[in-house]
């Protein structure tokens, strides 16, 4: 990325000479040259990344500043209808005859004020403490039992505070839109054109504003069911919310700052067990993701090539057999296979009958269990990859192979010079998503081994982590049970995000098939 600056300085002639010089190099030197170039590129790349991030914040900052200036200027230069709109949203629209918009703006403002007075303000005021008085059990002498009396509920306080903040942001944005509309309306009136009527507004929702109609439902769903929970859980990572402190039936929970991160990563004399467990599980997660992705990729490609080979008959039958296994829900196939290889499963049954000794496929040796998981994952994954590879292989122009054959390439050379580069180029983004998907591959691990064999060192931390546990299954284990450590799960979740984002940024930037989406259209 960094070279582009220098490249513009070089003359065309110089660049051509350099390119030609490169062509003269031997194969080994070419690789050396590329490697050097790659490592030399890293530093400028990191610098560019940093600048891009800084630039982003600068842009956001400037954007906000610009908006503020615009808001003030609109107030100064606007007519009285516009000025009133600063206090009464939608007033300008109503005064200028745009009933539909005006009513909506006004209704939102009224709802917002009522909400803030009766509920929102209350939630926000408690956000700092997350409640002061938890539930208490009071002895009831008449019935000789304890009854629980509920006071504050930290969970609700935090949740509704976040919701209220969402609402405030939305209202501020709407307020800004309301001002902008006044500004636009004034300009339109000044130019002597009529304003769009409410009917026109409605019609635009199926025409030039159609995206708003289409996106309304999906984005609201994403906001409430993804964005809100994620923000909430990020906040949870800074509290001591757990099964013991759930603020609901037990004690309240409260803010603890960076303590949980400290515990997990052990940057300041935290609990050694956590950092060790985290390191080990992260390492296995990455190893697993690597093998799971690439074993499937290359074996799937191989199977596709075999089935596609000229002269192989019953192509459709082979494919259908493999593809049908996709249809069968994984909880059936994986659970069944896990029982087949269980300590007293059918495989061991055979071994014992033949006079052998039962093998603890998943329960004894960590390395055996890990290998088994990867192998069984191949069984699950090959059909998908076979399909994908078939589709792409059939898209490779036949004349490429014909010309290679005429040039004297053998089967292996055809594969390495034509098939593989083409596949890698096309499936680059897919490999990345597949790698990340495998990092978070809950099903295979949970249904197959449940994390077994138990890792005594790691499970001293929390959640009975085993040798085949991935970060996600560990996270899941931590959140179940009576003393569920939700705060730890949140920290792990955030760290998974950091790792995934880091890998994505790096891979995405060095990928050759990082192409423009408009190229397809």
């Amino acid at each position: 990325m960094g070279q582009s600056n220098n490249a513009t300085l070089e003359s065309k002639e110089e660049r051509l000479q350099k390119d030609l010089a490169y062509l003269k190099l031997t194969k080994f030197k070419k690789i050396l040259f590329k490697t050097k170039k790659f490592f030399r590129g890293i530093l400028p790349w990191l610098r560019n990344l940093l600048f891009a991030i800084l630039n982003f914040f600068k842009k956001v900052g400037l954007g906000i500043a610009h908006e503020c200036v615009n808001i003030v200027q609109t107030f100064i230069h606007g007519d009285w209808k516009t000025k009133v709109s600063y206090v009464i949203m939608g007033f300008g629209n109503l005064a200028r005859g745009q009933w539909g918009r005006g009513v909506l703006f006004l209704a939102l403002e009224v709802i917002f004020i009522i909400y803030m007075i009766f509920w929102g303000g209350n939630w926000l005021s408690q956000m700092g403490t997350l409640g002061t008085q938890g539930p208490e059990k009071i002895y009831d002498p008449i019935y000789d039992t304890y009854t629980t009396i509920y006071h504050d509920n930290s969970f609700k306080i935090l949740l509704y505070s976040v919701l209220t903040l969402f609402f405030i942001v939305a209202v501020v944005y709407t307020w800004r839109v309301n001002i902008k509309q006044n500004q636009i309306a004034e300009a339109i009136i000044k130019s002597g054109k009529p304003l769009r009527s409410t009917k026109g507004d409605l019609h635009s929702l199926i025409d030039d504003q159609f995206h708003k109609t289409l996106l309304a439902l999906p984005t609201i769903g994403i906001l409430i069911f993804t964005v809100l929970p994620i923000i909430f859980m990020i906040l949870i990572a800074f509290t001591n919310y757990s099964g013991k402190n759930n603020g609901y039936s037990n004690n309240l929970f409260t803010w603890v700052g960076w303590d949980n991160f400290n515990t997990l990563l052990n940057w300041n004399s935290g609990n050694k067990a956590y950092s060790a467990a985290f390191g080990e599980i992260l390492a296995w997660t990455l190893i697993w993701a690597f093998f799971a992705t690439f074993s499937n990729y290359f074996l799937g490609m191989l199977v596709a090539i075999m089935i596609n080979k000229k002269g192989i008959k019953l192509k459709k039958v082979w494919r259908t057999i493999l593809v049908l296994t996709i249809a069968i829900p994984q909880f059936i196939s994986l659970l069944y296979v896990s029982k087949m290889f269980a300590d007293n499963g059918i495989i061991n049954g055979w071994i014992v009958r033949c006079g052998g000794e039962a093998i603890g496929w998943f329960s004894s040796d960590p390395n055996l269990a890990r290998t088994m998981v990867i192998v069984i994952n191949i069984w699950i994954g090959i059909p998908y990859l076979m399909l994908i590879a078939t589709g792409i292989l059939m898209n490779i122009p036949e004349d490429l192979y014909e010309s290679a054959k005429i040039d004297g390439a053998n089967v292996w050379q055809q594969y390495t010079k034509i098939t593989l580069p083409y596949m890698l180029f096309i499936t680059g983004p897919y490999l990345l998503t597949s790698f990340i998907g495998n990092m978070n591959n809950f099903n295979v691990i949970f249904l197959l081994t449940g994390g077994a064999p138990v890792n005594t060192a790691a499970s001293s931390a929390a959640g009975n982590a085993g040798y085949t546990d991935l970060l996600v299954t560990w996270l899941f284990k931590i959140t179940t049970g009576t003393d569920a450590l939700y705060y730890m799960a949140s920290v792990i979740g955030i760290l998974v995000f950091v790792v995934v984002a880091f890998i994505s940024i790096i891979v995405y930037n060095f990928m050759p098939s990082n192409k423009n989406e408009e190229d397809y259209q």
Binding site: H203, I206, I222, P229, T320, I392, M394
Partner: protein, 329 residues
């Protein structure tokens, strides 16, 4: 089949699957023959050598494919066999039942809550599939076809959101659903919401499909007097049969086999289980396995049959979607 014209640059897997040509074993040798005019004898020899080599390679491939097919199918054959086994123990050391019968199926329907689980799963899957289809189509069509301020930002935001493990949100979603009374025994509504609400984020494959429909069709329709909504339902939707079916199929298969969210939301109340949670529960402890192993197999067969049949009929669309999705990234 009208999609065919449009999708020239799409991988035409399905078409080619169906149009397998009759094999021509000699075709590899043709140019050899054409280039080698001088030595007739040696040509004959090489010809034979090539043929033998090709045959050997093909036989190897056949052997591998047969073994593979066996490995892929064996577990499923085992499940079916064991579902008919009347002697109900887990550790047997053999596969073919000594006593055949439908006992396991009878017990599945009478002794467990399987009918309830099956109904739960069915309702959830159907409703979720339909709503998810609408969400995905809205999102993908908009991102593919309409240009508006914030489009790139929206796509980036969804990309970043997708990097958080889905599990993370489950804790808070569970509590929200619990407060709304949509968990445990009433898990159907809650689970539908969970599956459906954020499904707009899974727009990639569908957008990839829309991207292959020429933009000039939209433009022509707009010039011809159609508004954006009319373009969608008069021009684009009729062309989108493959992606509609693909989306429906995957949206149906997801809830049909989902374990994690279902177990979380149902939370130990068996009325709220779906088939995955229910059947897993049947064999979740050593004592359960001993008692229920063959019943689990029977349940597995019943769950797998409808989805496998559906899949067989719609395979073509699934293959198209998967391949297209991978190519478009």
């Amino acid at each position: 089949m009208s999609e065919k014209d449009l999708k020239n640059n799409e991988p035409q897997v399905v078409e080619e699957f169906e149009e397998e040509k009759l094999e021509q074993p000699e075709s590899d040798l043709r140019q050899e023959v054409a280039f080698d005019d001088t030595a007739v004898v040696s040509r004959e020899k090489r010809h034979m050598g090539m043929k033998a080599k090709t045959r050997a390679a093909n036989i190897t491939i056949y052997v591998i494919l047969v073994i593979m097919s066996a490995v892929w199918l064996v577990p499923f054959i085992f499940i079916v066999l064991q579902s008919f086994r009347c002697e109900s123990t887990y550790l047997t050391g053999y596969v073919i039942p000594k006593q055949w019968g439908f006992d396991n199926y009878a017990r599945l329907f009478t002794e467990t809550k399987f009918p309830r689980w099956f109904l739960n799963t069915f309702i959830i899957s159907v409703v979720a599939a339909v709503i998810q289809l609408i969400m995905v189509l809205c999102m993908s069509y908009t991102l593919s076809r309409l240009r508006f301020k914030g489009r790139k930002a929206l796509m980036n935001a969804m990309l970043i959101l997708g990097m958080f493990p889905g599990m993370l949100t489950m804790i808070v979603l569970y509590r929200i659903l619990a407060d709304a009374g949509m968990t445990q025994g009433n898990s159907i509504a809650g689970l539908i919401l969970v599956y459906v609400a954020s499904s707009g984020m899974g727009y990639y494959v569908s957008k990839g499909f829309f991207d292959t429909i020429p933009k000039s069709l939209d433009e022509a329709a707009r010039v011809d007097g159609a508004n954006r909504a009319q373009v969608l339902y008069k021009i684009i939707l009729p062309l989108s049969k493959p992606i509609v079916i693909y989306t429906l199929l995957t949206a149906f298969m997801g809830p049909w086999g989902d374990y994690v969210f279902a177990s979380y939301v149902a939370f130990n109340v068996s009325d709220g289980y779906n088939v995955a949670v229910g059947l897993q529960w049947l064999i979740s402890t050593p004592s359960n396995i001993a008692a229920n192993y063959t019943i689990f197999c029977a349940g597995g067969v019943i769950v797998a049959i409808p989805i496998t049949l559906l899949f067989m009929f719609l395979q073509k669309y699934y293959v198209e979607g998967v391949t297209g999705g991978a190519v478009k990234g």
